[in-house]
């Protein structure tokens, strides 16, 4: 595990995920009848919901990832630091700098 390249890390996580998914699929029935899960029937965790969840786990994973990406980027853009003052300050400072340079003998 010394120096995993980034893509190898992703690959490992992908393989791990596939293993979890496969296990879930093969043991679907025992998951559906797992006492704590059966008890949450009220919040919509019916056996059929569990079935859909587990069968299409990769899709849900991709959708979740996509939503996370989308909202992260939209949040960043919405809270983006616009700084028009910086441009104004720069314009002012350019005037000052030009005067200093002229005084020091610079020929524009």
């Amino acid at each position: 595990m010394a120096e995993l390249l980034r893509y190898q890390l992703f690959l490992s996580i992908g393989i791990l995920f596939l293993a979890i998914w496969k296990t879930g699929l093969t043991h679907l029935d025992s998951i559906k009848s797992w006492p704590p899960l059966a008890a949450t029937n009220l919040v919509g965790m019916t056996p059929s919901t569990i079935e859909v969840l587990v069968t299409y786990l990769p899709i849900w994973a991709i959708v979740t990832l996509g939503m996370y990406a989308l909202f992260s980027v939209l949040y960043r853009v919405a809270t983006f630091g616009d700084c028009p003052e910086a441009a104004e300050e720069l314009s002012r400072q350019i005037v000052g700098a030009k005067e200093k340079l002229k005084a020091a003998g610079f020929a524009f």
Binding site: R6, G81, D82, C83, A86, A97, G105, A107, F108
Partner: protein, 242 residues
């Protein structure tokens, strides 16, 4: 402690005098020693002549010029400047006034203060994406592409939490940049990303200072489909090789 500021230039005859004056003012006020190293790639607009007159005004102690026979790329410009300069700390920044030297003392403070803390900061990156930082002159589309690209890069690459991967305004300990630069082979935006990725891989700590970036609105847009494809290629290359 001498600070070397390496300024690669290509057609910057108008901006070079101004950025030089700004750097001079910042360092004089902060009472720090500096030297500017202009690396000019035979600019057709005679930036070299402008550089020579600036050298007369500011002195060879503060202003040095490396003139190269042609457009040889940013990475080699940095290497040429690094080889020639004598500072213990190196600042790499743009010469087109999009970066303001006033943030340099803040970067230095972050680097100095890290000596007392748990881990020594070897690189301080100017970030446009943290609170206090930002950009002047970007429309929503530009912001979307930039934030999207940055998100993709931080997801796909390992950079220890750096918030601005494509920024080019950074302060380096000489040892850090000397170690990393020879390892970097990407071109374009990915170049700056690769520096941070390799630094993180080498165990270096990257500090951050929010900066304001003033995008000069020229006629040409530097963000065409070509640039985007180049960026994605560079990103994937780093994904598979680091």
């Amino acid at each position: 402690m001498l600070y070397s500021i390496i300024l690669p230039t290509y057609n910057e005859r108008d901006n070079l005098p101004l950025i030089t004056q700004f750097i001079h003012d910042t360092f004089t006020t902060a009472k720090l020693n500096y030297e500017i190293f202009v690396v000019d790639d035979s600019s057709p607009d005679n930036t070299l002549d402008v550089a020579k007159s600036l050298q007369q005004i500011f002195g060879k102690d503060h202003f040095q010029i490396v003139s190269r026979p042609g457009k040889l790329g940013l990475g080699s410009a940095y290497s040429a400047g690094l080889e020639a300069c004598s500072g213990q700390r190196i600042i790499l920044m743009d010469a087109d006034l999009s970066h303001h030297p006033k943030f340099i003392p803040e970067m230095i403070a972050v680097m100095d203060n890290s000596d007392n803390n748990k881990k020594k900061v070897d690189i301080v990156s100017g970030t446009r994406y943290l609170k206090g930082g930002g950009v002047a002159g970007w429309d929503t589309f530009r912001k979307l592409t930039s934030c999207g690209a940055n998100f993709l890069a931080t997801f796909l690459l390992s950079t220890g939490g750096a918030s601005d991967l494509t920024g080019s305004f950074r302060l380096y300990e000489r040892s850090a940049i000397e170690l990393i630069l020879p390892q970097v082979h990407s071109k374009g935006y990915a170049f700056q990303m690769e520096i941070l990725v390799r630094a993180h891989k080498a165990g270096m700590k990257i500090g951050e200072v929010p900066i304001t970036f003033v995008d000069r609105i020229y006629g040409e847009s530097k963000l065409g489909a070509n640039e985007i494809i180049l960026y994605l290629k560079g990103l994937l290359q780093l994904f598979f090789t680091t």
